[in-house]
C-alpha cells in the first residue's frame, strides 16, 4: 500500500464523479426527490372515509347518532332510508362502509339492551376495513355513553375513561418515520448502485485492464475508489437530514454524531456491496439490475421502513437480520423521534460494523489485480 498510488486513484475517481452529471444527480438530486416523495406523496395516515348510514326509521336518537358521526373529522356521511343504493356505491368503491340502523334502533337502545347496528365494511383494502370498523365501534360506544349521561342515567358499562397519549410521534404522522427511513434507501442507492455502475464502467471501457497492468495494488485500488463515494454518500446523508428537519419539521431528538456514525458504517456496507456486484458482473446493465435486486429491494422491504417487520412471517423476520438497512432504519427512527436510546443504538452499530467487516473481507477476497 503506497499512499501516492491510493491518492492517484482517489483523485481520478473524484474528478470523474464531479464531471459525470449522472453521479451528481444520483448523489444530490435523488435524495431530495426521495425525501419529498416520502414527505408529501406517500402517507399512511387515515384519510376521510365515506360512510353511508341507512336510517330505516328516523327518530331523535338516530338523528343524534348521525350527528355524532358527522362531528368527527374522519367521516363523510350520507344517509338514506334503504341500503340498496349504498350497496351499489360500495361495490363501485365509492363507499368504505355502510352503517345500518334498523327500524327498532331507538326502542331497543333506550331499553338498555344491545342495539343491533349492522356495519358493512369494504374488505378490499384490509387496512382501511379494520380501521373503519374499529372507529365506528368506538363511536357507537361513545354515543351510547353520551346518550345515557344526557338522560342523567348511569351508563351501561362501568365508566372507564381511556385517554390515549402517543409518544415519540405525537401527531401520529407517518411522515415522521418515513422521511428518516428514506435516508437508508438513499444511502443504499448511492452506495450500491452508484459504485456498481462506476466500477462496471471501467471493466466495460477496458480502462480496468490498463489500470491493473500498472503496479497498483488491490488495497490501493479498493480504497481509492471507495473514499470519494463514501464522502459523497455522507454529503447526501447530511443533506437529507437537513431537509427532513428544516423542511418537514421532523423532530430530531438524538445525537447527530451517533447517527452519523451509523450512517458511515452503513455506507461502508453499501459501497462494499456495490463493489462486489460490479467486480462479479463487469457489466453496467447487469450490475445495475443486480444492485436493485440485492441491495435496493431488500432495503426497501425488510428494513421496517415502510413494511412492518412485526407483521411478517417469522422466516422473513429472521431474514431481515441479514439486511444491513434494517439496523440503520431502527437507529434512524429512534434518533429522530425518541433520542439517544443506547439499547437500540449500540446493537445497531455493532451489527453494522460486523456487516461492513464481512462485506469488505469478501471484497478483498474477490479483488485481484488479474482478469481471471
Amino acid at each position: 500500500m503506497r499512499f501516492s498510488r491510493f491518492a492517484a486513484i482517489m483523485r481520478k475517481e473524484t474528478r470523474q464523479a464531479i464531471r459525470d452529471p449522472s453521479t451528481l444527480m444520483i448523489a444530490g438530486l435523488l435524495p431530495i426527490m426521495l425525501i419529498f416523495l416520502f414527505g408529501y406523496a406517500v402517507s399512511f395516515d387515515p384519510r376521510q372515509f365515506s360512510v353511508g348510514v341507512v336510517v330505516e326509521q328516523p327518530t331523535g336518537e338516530t338523528e343524534s347518532f348521525v350527528a355524532s358521526l358527522r362531528n368527527t373529522r374522519y367521516f363523510e356521511i350520507e344517509t338514506a332510508p334503504v341500503r340498496k343504493d349504498f350497496e351499489t356505491l360500495m361495490a363501485a368503491g365509492e363507499l368504505d362502509a355502510i352503517i345500518i340502523l334498523p327500524q327498532d334502533f331507538s326502542a331497543i337502545a333506550l331499553r338498555g339492551e344491545a342495539a343491533p347496528i349492522q356495519i358493512l365494511v369494504d374488505g378490499g383494502d384490509p387496512n382501511t376495513a379494520g380501521l373503519v370498523g374499529s372507529y365506528i365501534e368506538l363511536l357507537v360506544i361513545n354515543w351510547l355513553e353520551q346518550e345515557w349521561l344526557d338522560r342523567g342515567q348511569p351508563p351501561l358499562a362501568p365508566l372507564v375513561s381511556i385517554e390515549p397519549r402517543v409518544w415519540f410521534n405525537a401527531e401520529i404522522s407517518s411522515r415522521n418515520y418515513l422521511v428518516p427511513g428514506s435516508v437508508a434507501i438513499i444511502l443504499t442507492i448511492i452506495g450500491a448502485l452508484l459504485t456498481a455502475l462506476v466500477v462496471a464502467r471501467e471493466w466495460e471501457r477496458g480502462t480496468m485492464e490498463a489500470l491493473l497492468a500498472t503496479p497498483v495494488g488491490p488495497l490501493e485500488l479498493l480504497l481509492g475508489k471507495l473514499v470519494p463515494y463514501f464522502v459523497l454518500g455522507l454529503g447526501s446523508f447530511m443533506l437529507s437530514v437537513f431537509v427532513a428537519v428544516a423542511f418537514f419539521g421532523v423532530p430530531f431528538r438524538g445525537s447527530f454524531l451517533a447517527l452519523s456514525l451509523a450512517a458511515a458504517l452503513f455506507m461502508l456496507c453499501s459501497l462494499g456491496q456495490g463493489l462486489l456486484i460490479s467486480t462479479l458482473t463487469r457489466n453496467q446493465l447487469v450490475a445495475a439490475q443486480v444492485a436493485v435486486m440485492l441491495a435496493f429491494l431488500p432495503a426497501f422491504y425488510f428494513s421496517n421502513f415502510v413494511f412492518e417487520l412485526d407483521s411478517m412471517p417469522l422466516a422473513l423476520q429472521l431474514f431481515s437480520y441479514a439486511i444491513p438497512a434494517r439496523f440503520l432504519v431502527s437507529t434512524l427512527q429512534t434518533q429522530f423521534l425518541a433520542g439517544n436510546v443506547w439499547a437500540v443504538l449500540l446493537p445497531d452499530l455493532a451489527a453494522l460494523a460486523i456487516f461492513a467487516i464481512v462485506i469488505f473481507a469478501i471484497c478483498a477476497l474477490f479483488t485481484r489485480t488479474r482478469l481471471d
Binding site: R5, A8, G206
Partner: protein, 574 residues
C-alpha cells in the same frame, strides 16, 4: 542478444470453451526487438499479451519476464512492463494531462523527472497543444498516441501493444510505427499484436498464432522466402479479371489468388508450373510476371492455401436486367448537431459493380453507407436504389437490397437455423422457396454442423458467414456489406470475396466498406472518404496512378491513400 521473455509450454483454457485459447506455446522474445504478434481475431493474441502482463494465470507452462514470474511476482513484472490494451485504456472524461498524471502517479514518477518526461512524451506524440482536451474528444489517432504516452510514462523494458492500429487511419498508423521503432532504438522491447499482415512484415521477428497454436516464430523475410519464386502477377488481362481469378483459383497448380487492381496475383504450389494463360481466359495480351513474395503470401502458404472451391453462388441466374445504375448518391449530407459526418457525397454505382467506400473509422463511410441503404435520413441530398427514391418508397427499395451490418447483428440467443428461418420470413420467403433457400444457404456457407448452436456462441468466421447468409437469402439486387471481413482470418476473407465475386458476376451490385486497404483493390471502383468528404473516386489502378512518383513508382493502395489525403490537406490548408 539475450531473451527478455522466455515462454515454455504455455497453455491457457477458459471455462465453457472446448478448445484452449493457447496451446503449448514456447518462444523467446529478445531484447530490443519489435516482435509482431500476428493472427486473426480469436487466435489467442490478447490472451498471450495478458499472460505476459500477469493479468491472467496460465494453466500449464511458465513465463519468465526478466527473471520474474508474472503472477507470483506481479509487482516486479508490472514495474518493468507497459501494456496498452485494445481501445487504449484511456479515461475519456479526463483530459490528456489528467490521464498522464494518473499513470505517472501510479508508476511513481514525480517532481522534475515527471515534468521532463511529460515534455518529452508530449513532444514525441505531438499532443502538446491538446493537454487540456478531454481524451474522449480526441480523434482515433490522437487517442492511440495518448494511450502510448500513458504506457510510456516510465520507460519500460517491455512494451505490450494490443492491436494499437485498429480503427486508426493509415497516416496515424504509420506515425505510430515510426514512434515505436524509435523506442526500440532506446533498447525497449516491443510486442505488437496485429491483424494487419503488412504491419507484421515490418517487424524484426513475428509470432504467428492460429487457433491458439504458434505456427511460425522467426523473421518475416524467412517466412516470405519460403514462397520465393512462387508468386506471380497476371498483367494485361482482357475481359473480366474476376473470371480469370475464378478459373485460376481452381487450377491444381494454384494455392491462392487475389485481385490486385486490374491484375490477378497468384501463389503457386511448390514445384508447380503456372497454368497457361489461355486456359484461364486471360486473353492474348496477358503476361505472367514473377513478383516478390509478401508476408501475406507466406501466411496463406503456412495455413495451407486460400479458398479454392467454386463458390456455390457461381452460375446463378442473371439478375436485375432492368437497371443500369443500381445506386445513386446525390449530394448526400448528414449533420449530427453542428458536426458534419458526411458532406455533399455524390456518385453512381453501375449494375454488377463492386464499389468500395474506403476510409478510417469516423471518416464518414458508415454514415454514407447508412444513408445509401435507407437506415439514416440524409440532412440534405438524396439516395436512390434501382431508381427508387429511398425517401418516398423506402420499403420498395429495401426489398431489393441486402444488408450485412458491421457488428454481429443477428439474434445471439437463437440458433443458426432459427436465425435463417427468421430472416427468411422477414424477407417474405415462404413455403418451398423458403426451404430451398435455407437449404442452399446452409450448404453454401458450410453451416450444417452449426445449425443447433446459438449463433452468439459461434466462432467469428461462422458468425460472419451466417450474417452474410441472412443478407443474401432473398436474392437482393444490391448488397450492402459494412466491413464484412473485419477480424476474420485471411482464408475466410478469400472465401467471402469468392462469394461476392460470384454474385457480382450474376449481376448483383455490391457496396462494401473496409479498412483493409488491400481489399480496396478487389473493388471495381472506390471512393475515399476522409473527414466527411469524398476526396477521390476511381478504379484502384487510377487511384494508385495518382500517387505514383519517381521515388515510388509502384505505390500500394495504402501509399495512394496517404498521398491523396495529404494532397487534400495541402489544398484545404489555410
Amino acid at each position: 542478444m539475450v531473451a527478455l521473455v522466455t515462454i515454455e509450454g504455455l497453455t491457457k483454457r477458459f471455462p465453457k470453451q472446448a478448445e484452449p485459447a493457447l496451446r503449448s506455446v514456447s518462444t523467446q522474445i529478445r531484447s530490443g526487438h519489435i516482435v509482431g504478434l500476428v493472427g486473426p481475431d480469436g487466435s489467442g493474441k490478447t490472451t498471450f499479451l495478458r499472460l505476459i502482463a500477469g493479468l491472467l494465470r496460465a494453466d500449464e507452462g511458465g513465463i519468465d519476464v526478466g527473471g520474474f514470474d508474472p503472477v507470483a511476482n506481479a509487482k516486479e513484472v508490472r514495474a518493468r512492463i507497459a501494456y496498452m490494451p485494445q481501445r487504449f485504456g484511456l479515461y475519456e472524461d479526463l483530459s490528456v494531462e489528467e490521464n498522464l498524471n494518473l499513470y505517472a502517479d501510479l508508476r511513481g514518477l514525480v517532481g522534475s523527472a515527471r515534468k521532463a518526461t511529460f515534455e518529452r512524451l508530449l513532444d514525441f506524440t505531438g499532443l502538446a497543444p491538446f493537454t487540456g482536451r478531454l481524451a474522449g474528444a480526441l480523434s482515433g489517432g490522437m487517442k492511440q498516441k495518448l494511450g502510448l504516452a500513458c504506457a510510456l510514462v516510465v520507460t519500460p523494458e517491455l512494451l505490450l501493444l494490443d492491436e494499437p492500429s485498429v480503427g486508426v487511419d493509415p497516416i496515424s498508423r504509420r506515425e505510430l510505427w515510426r514512434m515505436v521503432s524509435r523506442l526500440t532504438d532506446e533498447g525497449i522491447t516491443v510486442v505488437w499484436a496485429t491483424a494487419y499482415l503488412d504491419e507484421a512484415e515490418k517487424c524484426e521477428t513475428v509470432l504467428v498464432l492460429s487457433e491458439g497454436d504458434l505456427i511460425f516464430d522467426g523473421r518475416p523475410a524467412d517466412l516470405a522466402a519460403r514462397v520465393e519464386g512462387r508468386v506471380f502477377m497476371i498483367e494485361g488481362i482482357e475481359g473480366d479479371r474476376r473470371y480469370v481469378l475464378n478459373k485460376a483459383r481452381q487450377h491444381e497448380a494454384v494455392m491462392d489468388g487475389t485481385i490486385q487492381a486490374s491484375d490477378v496475383r497468384l501463389l503457386l504450389n511448390e514445384n508447380a508450373h503456372a497454368p497457361s494463360l489461355a486456359s484461364i481466359g486471360a486473353g492474348d495480351e496477358a503476361r505472367l510476371q514473377p513478383v516478390a513474395p509478401r508476408f501475406e503470401d507466406a501466411f496463406i502458404d503456412l495455413i495451407g492455401g486460400g479458398f479454392r472451391a467454386e463458390s456455390p453462388f457461381a452460375g446463378g441466374s442473371e439478375r436485375s436486367h432492368d437497371i443500369a445504375i443500381a445506386v445513386e448518391a446525390r449530394g448526400l449530407t448528414r449533420m449530427f448537431g453542428s458536426f458534419t459526418a458526411a458532406s455533399e457525397i455524390s456518385f453512381d454505382v453501375r449494375r454488377g459493380e463492386v464499389f468500395g467506400l474506403i476510409g478510417p473509422n469516423g471518416a464518414g463511410k458508415s454514415t454514407t453507407f447508412k444513408m445509401l441503404s435507407g437506415l439514416l435520413k440524409p440532412t440534405s441530398g438524396e439516395a436512390r436504389i434501382a431508381g427508387v427514391d429511398l425517401r418516398t418508397a423506402a420499403s420498395e427499395a429495401r426489398a431489393r437490397l441486402g444488408y450485412m451490418a458491421q457488428k454481429f447483428s443477428l439474434y445471439g440467443d437463437l440458433s443458426t437455423l432459427q436465425n435463417l428461418r427468421f430472416f427468411a420470413r422477414v424477407y417474405g420467403l415462404t413455403g418451398v422457396r423458403q426451404r430451398t433457400m435455407i437449404a442452399r444457404m446452409i450448404e453454401s456457407f458450410a453451416l450444417t454442423d452449426k445449425l443447433d448452436e446459438n449463433s452468439g456462441q459461434l466462432p467469428l468466421g461462422f458468425k460472419q458467414r451466417l450474417s452474410l447468409a441472412c443478407a443474401v437469402m432473398h436474392e437482393p439486387d444490391v448488397l450492402f456489406l459494412d466491413e464484412p471481413t473485419s477480424g476474420v482470418d485471411p482464408r475466410t476473407r478469400r472465401e467471402f470475396w469468392a462469394h461476392i465475386n460470384a454474385m457480382v458476376t450474376n449481376g448483383v451490385t455490391v457496396i462494401v466498406t473496409t479498412h483493409f486497404l488491400d481489399e480496396a483493390e478487389y473493388c471495381d471502383r472506390a471512393a475515399l472518404i476522409y473527414r466527411g468528404q469524398m476526396i477521390a473516386l476511381g478504379t484502384p489502378a487510377e487511384l494508385k496512378a495518382q500517387a505514383a512518383s519517381s521515388t515510388l513508382p509502384n505505390p500500394t493502395f495504402e501509399d495512394a491513400f496517404i498521398a491523396l489525403v495529404e494532397e487534400n490537406e495541402a489544398v484545404n490548408a489555410p
